[in-house]
Symmetry: C2
């Protein structure tokens, strides 16, 4: 293999596929990126147990071939190269079967160890039958505003995923944790697709780091039996689906509320943010909401001090006292842009809903005091 | 005590005195800031074993008094207050002698524990006889460009300090480590002061975080028997001097050099930066310089790969091969702004000088390979 790539474009593609390098030391290719120049173009490829990423990078091929290199080592080295063209080729040493990858420009000659290309798993063949084209910004936004409710490590793998429901021109995304639920939906320009799939939160988290914030740019989603594929620019991301039954959010009925509160989002957010200084671990992380007439009193007393605040509200229904973990409330408020939010309370021991019809529904369980 | 302070001004003063709060848990006032409103103005005060800082903050006193509070707790809370006026007062609880400090604005009432003001050591009385007025920028700059050569924890306390020599209108600062020396000097507008003092590097490091980068603003230094005092704006910083004999830099004689090299600073800096990827701990952290005619070849071979680069130079004197820890070279080059640097080599086993007459002198010992 002998190729020439522009440094800046190379770094860009390395950063993209690096999102799928595995940190698990169980494979010979763990933490590695494959550089492949056998198909008439140059592509980088990495995969872990949950996802695979391929990124095509512009460049010249003067000799075909492929070789794997440690992703971190490659990235750390290329970043420190001067801008411009970089030549990459490799020598197989006769004596011990090891591969030396040479990375050069004018005055700089660096050598790092390589791995045989055949050790790497390729991405599966993509079935482009069922295709949803969606704005990168919209997809990124709906993931970003729900993903904090996925668990990083759960005995129940389902809770590590987000449920995507695509039906009747609506994309709905749901995430569930022990004490909370996040649901968001948007309209899409596609009435054909009818899919229900669970995608791992950690993979989606890497995806949104790669995607653009540009509202003009789109991404293609393809739906296969075991995988969902995202394709945009010169990149293909394949994610393995999680199998199983997701939590049924249709059981979340807010209409029996006894108290409805309209409140300035910033006021309650800033108050709860201050309250976290006092609601420490040792104190069960709970703050008390006392709702009476047009006033929400939030207070917390702990070993490190006390906080007591009043916020003006518009209330319908009963007075109520209820305890929450302020962190859960803060996360939900962070995911909402509205100036005023509406909170539905069903009782001291029942879920609380922060919701807006056809847009979002954040559900938080109270702490029983 | 009952005082009213503007939030933004309060935070600013907390951040300043916080640089002198002690993290050592041996004192009842460790990690605490004293809020003192007994002298007709409001001042914050903190000190540790090496330095003390007082900062005067504008505000209204409606009742005199003083109280100590945990610095981190105070800072974390005030940062989360809305902008505007904050009232601070305290209640002594009759039942258990504890103090509650109340921090309020309109709707927010926070309470944190306080400590008796008499527990705090005050700053010593300042003798303003010997005074040097110097630009904050110049002082900050000379410290910043030498301080990386002070040791953080040394059996020899002298090595934790920087030597300040003020004489004949020159301020000279020297720092020494096991394998390197940093010396910088500047002209000052004062021929009267004749002082030689050693100041702890960690204290100077906190000082430069507080000082302005504005070239128009000055700082006053006062020289006392056991202390040096810095005064600017509404702040007083008192540092305890280190006693002892500093390394004698007059023994550093570069004039017997056998090789003199002029080199583009950026070229050698970037090359050495790349070399650190290969000169890892396990390989004694050394790179080889091979100087021949108009070429400097820098190369390193390690378990993780190899790097070989050539840089154009202007050379006088002998060809030479010499090994360096690239980190030490990089630190010195970082402290120099010149486009071209001049390196003096005395031999494979002797110190190397990167120097500019009357301005700087960075000395690095080679690694004996």
């Amino acid at each position: 293999m002998r190729i020439t790539i522009d440094k800046v474009k190379f770094i860009n593609s390395i950063n993209i596929v690096n999102k799928a390098t595995s940190k698990k030391p169980n494979l010979n290719t763990s933490g590695c990126i494959l550089i492949d120049a056998t198909k008439g173009y140059i592509r980088l490829l990495a995969n872990n147990e949950d996802m695979a990423i391929q990124s095509i990078v512009e460049g010249e091929i003067s000799e075909e071939g492929m070789v794997g290199v440690n992703a971190d080592q490659l990235k750390n080295l290329i970043v420190k190269y001067p801008d411009g063209k970089i030549n990459i080729f490799y020598n197989e040493r006769e004596d011990d079967d090891s591969i030396n990858v040479l990375i050069e420009n004018n005055n700089i000659k660096a050598t790092i160890p390589g791995k045989e290309g055949y050790l790497f798993n390729d991405i599966p063949e993509i079935d482009r039958n069922k295709r949803l084209e969606i704005s990168q910004y919209a997809l990124k936004d709906i993931i970003r505003r729900t993903i904090f409710c996925t668990s990083l490590n759960s005995i129940n793998k389902i809770l590590e995923g987000e449920l995507f429901i695509i039906k009747n021109g609506i994309l709905r995304v749901e995430a569930v944790e022990q004490s909370r639920v996040a649901i968001r939906q948007i309209e899409i320009n596609n009435n054909e697709i009818d899919e229900r799939l669970i995608i791992k939160g950690s993979s989606l988290n890497e995806l949104i780091k790669i995607m653009s914030d540009d509202t003009e740019q789109n991404i293609d989603m393809y739906f296969m039996k075991d995988n969902v594929v995202f394709e945009f620019d010169q990149n293909i991301i394949v994610m393995r689906l999680i199998e199983g039954n997701f939590f049924d959010s249709s059981n979340l009925k807010y209409k029996d509320y006894i108290t409805k509160v309209d409140i300035n989002k910033r006021s309650i957010y800033e108050c709860l943010d201050r309250s976290t200084l006092f609601a420490n671990d040792g104190d069960k992380k709970s703050v008390k909401f006392v709702i009476t007439n047009d006033n929400l009193n939030i207070n917390v007393i702990s070993q490190t001090g006390a906080l007591n605040e009043n916020i003006e509200i518009a209330k319908e229904g009963d007075d109520i006292e209820i305890n929450f973990n302020p962190k859960l409330f803060i996360d939900a408020l962070k995911a909402i842009d509205d100036e005023t939010v509406t909170i539905y309370l069903l009782g001291k021991k029942f879920p609380c809903f922060i919701r807006k019809e056809d847009t979002y529904n954040y559900v938080i369980l109270p702490i029983l005091g």
